[in-house]
């Protein structure tokens, strides 16, 4: 019987069915199912399967977004039933995502936001063409752990650097990990500006955020940034 709740919940993630997710969780908790197991054996397997389907091109961005919404609804019901320790482990961290000032591209940011949501992060979207100050104010207001700054245009690069500078100058550097990404962003740029990490695509962003949250380092204290998914090869003559 318990397994049926897990399957129902997992399926609700895959179909992005918020109502079903909420109903299932309520039913399961009413039947005495361990709420932490609902996350580990219900929500997470569904998200993992969806992530694989996204990689193979069976589902796309909309399905990820709807799954993230369904997961959020389910977690809202589950969290009050968890111990403090289990609550803390259920939400992996809070990430503020943004596209840099002067850049109106949103697809990368939206993909990263959706993927992070499906993997248990609380994501707060600061929008596109986001001024540096507003990104940091958002991080302050939501108690963020990570600022994820993306851009697809080189003329918005200076604003990624400015996030680090602003945090340093405001005495806030140790409060937030800063990760960067986007088409022209490179590991070399990441290191140059003093960011904490680089992810090449949305999956890499998830791995990166998990790594930073599970580690012991403080933001801004890493001897070199964490680089996930970098392209290393230069092929000549191909």
């Amino acid at each position: 019987m318990t397994k049926q709740y897990f399957k129902r919940l997992s399926d609700a993630m895959i179909t992005g069915d918020e109502e079903e997710a909420e109903a299932c969780v309520n039913d399961a908790i009413g039947a005495g199912v361990d709420p932490i197991m609902l996350i580990n054996k219900g929500i997470q397997p569904g998200m993992d399967e969806l992530g694989e389907k996204f990689e193979t091109g069976e589902v796309f961005l909309v399905e990820l977004i709807l799954a993230g919404d369904a997961a959020k609804i389910a977690l809202n019901v589950i969290l009050p039933h968890l111990s403090d320790e289990d609550s803390r482990s259920a939400i992996k961290g809070t990430v503020v995502t943004a596209t840099m000032f002067g850049d109106n591209h949103d697809i990368g940011k939206n993909l990263v936001s959706a993927m992070l949501s499906t993997y248990g992060f609380n994501v707060v979207d600061a929008g596109i063409s986001a001024p540096v100050r507003e990104i940091i104010e958002k991080a302050e207001s939501v108690g963020a752990d990570i600022i994820a700054a993306s851009t697809l245009i080189t003329t918005s690069f200076p604003y990624q650097r400015q996030i680090i500078r602003f945090l340093n100058d405001s005495g806030l550097r140790e409060k937030y990990f800063v990760i960067v990404g986007g088409g022209p962003v490179t590991p070399a740029w990441t290191e140059e500006i003093g960011a904490d990490g680089y992810g090449r695509d949305a999956n890499d962003a998830v791995t990166l955020c998990q790594h930073l949250m599970e580690g012991d380092s403080l933001p801004g204290s890493l001897s070199e940034p964490v680089i996930i998914g970098a392209l290393g090869k230069q092929l000549i003559g191909r």
Partner: protein
């Protein structure tokens, strides 16, 4: 031809009177749902044929046009600044399409260029514009652009993009961009003069993504010329626009501009879903850009978010069928972009170019801007040789059948498709060219010679 101010005012009014949506609701409930509905209604599910990356089915292309036309009416364009959707009914959309020019001239003197409507398999010569707005350092700008302007197959110039202005970082959305507009115009003119091609048309303004560059460089004394040059309006992906784009339109109007390039992107794997939804979106968004921005040259190519390019099978299929749909069913000057991911001094870049440019020529595209060397990821990673190759292929492919283009796709896609995610950067301009003599290295020249021979063996008649 002039830009119609009454039409501009109608569009501006719609940004204040159209239906209101929150961002998420518009993307999911309006864009994504209507595209899915159109795919279903017109029987387009599972029609993407990876085994045949260049569509050869006219009836299918026409159904994509019908689906796209209906989707355009149902979706509209969301104005980011007002959160309202600019909508067009059937008559308004058709009127916008009918008002677009079938042909026009740009440039001056003996460098004038004819942009003209083409149909699939048309033997009319297309127009090759180079390069895309890839970032370069100031020391590279002039020798690179001069070298590009010297290529006989190049008809017009658009990029590259400056990384700094007089040594200061160029920051998007700032007064630096305003300065960059005129600065770029000066540099482009100097490069053109050094190449002996004064009068060559240009697209304004490569270095500036926002309207500030256009305000600073187009229609100002010494800047881009409203009668000879195109103004670039690049709207936000997937049916969004903004005051930034509309400012460029009004600026064109107040400066006496005549010709607008109205374009954007649709993201394959994003809100448009798979290749079928993406192709419908490409058609729909193209028609909306004509109606909203009075595009003279218009097109909305797909971008595969899996690797941020469009030279893989599913993206090439969507690229081809969407362009065929529009070029078969309208008389507009269709614009598109082939988005490579490999960099200079790689054969992969040339193979991606060969596949994409033949597809675009055979699918009725009138004007391509390229090459997306190294996916536009790296500063200074572009060179004249791949731009020469792009022009040679594009023009040699004018008049080839889609069957022939498909055969080329199936021959050459296997040579690089496993590398689309890995994306070799190749070499910078300074590494694969002698910047003083503007000659390629022997290594890069040899790669070009070998791939060019392969293209000729594949049936392309190079001059």
């Amino acid at each position: 031809m002039t830009i119609d101010r009454d039409r501009i005012l109608e569009v501006l009014d719609k940004t204040h009177s159209g239906p209101v949506y929150k961002e998420r609701d518009y993307n999911i409930e309006v864009v994504s749902k209507n595209l899915k509905n159109a795919v279903t209604k017109y029987g387009l599910e599972k029609t993407a044929d990876r085994a045949n990356p260049v569509n050869m089915d006219d009836d299918l292309a026409d159904r994509y046009y019908q689906a796209g036309f209906e989707a355009a009416i149902n979706i509209g364009l969301m104005c980011r600044d007002t959160s309202r959707v600019i909508t067009f009914n059937r008559e308004e959309l058709q009127a916008g399409i009918d008002a677009a020019p079938k042909e026009f001239w740009l440039g001056d003197g003996n460098q004038r260029v004819l942009y003209q409507h083409r149909k699939p398999e048309d033997n009319k010569l297309p127009v090759w514009t180079v390069p895309l707005s890839i970032a370069v350092t100031e020391d590279v700008f002039l020798p690179l652009v001069e070298s590009l302007a010297r290529i006989p197959q190049v008809d017009a110039l658009e990029g590259p993009s400056l990384e700094t202005v007089w040594g200061h970082p160029l920051r998007s959305g700032s007064p630096y961009e305003h300065l960059a507009g005129r600065y770029q115009a000066d540099l482009m003119r100097e490069a053109i003069k050094r190449a002996g091609r004064e009068g060559m048309p240009m697209d304004a303004v490569g270095s500036s993504t926002t309207h500030y560059g256009v305000l600073g460089g187009y229609g100002v004394p010494g800047g881009y010329h409203p009668k000879h040059d195109l103004i670039l309006i690049l709207s936000i992906a997937d049916f969004w626009t903004s005051y930034e784009s509309l400012f460029k339109l009004t600026h064109a109007s107040v400066t006496g501009g005549k010709y607008i390039s109205a374009s954007s992107w649709v993201m394959l794997g994003g809100y448009a879903g798979g290749p079928e939804g993406t192709a419908v979106a490409s058609v729909a968004y193209t028609l909306l850009m004509i109606a909203a921005f009075q595009g003279s040259r218009t097109g909305v190519p797909p971008f595969d978010i899996k690797y941020m390019g469009n030279c893989g099978r599913r993206a090439q299929w969507a690229l081809g069928i969407a362009n065929q749909a529009v070029s078969r069913n309208t008389e507009i000057v269709v614009h598109s972009i082939n988005n490579q991911v490999a960099g200079p001094a790689t054969k992969m870049l040339l193979y991606e170019t060969l596949v994409g440019m033949t597809n675009l020529a055979a699918s009725g595209v009138s004007n391509v801007v390229g090459t997306r060397s190294a996916g536009g990821r790296r500063t200074n990673y572009l060179s004249p040789l791949e731009h020469q190759f792009g022009g040679e292929v594009y023009k040699a492919a004018a008049g080839i059948s889609r069957e022939h283009a498909n055969s080329i796709a199936n021959t050459f896609i296997p040579k690089y498709e496993d590398m689309l995610v890995e994306q070799p950067d190749g070499q910078s301009f300074q590494e694969c060219y002698n910047v003083e003599t503007l000659e390629p290295t022997a290594e890069w020249q040899q790669m070009y010679d070998e791939v060019r021979d392969e293209a000729i063996q594949a049936g392309l008649n190079f001059p």
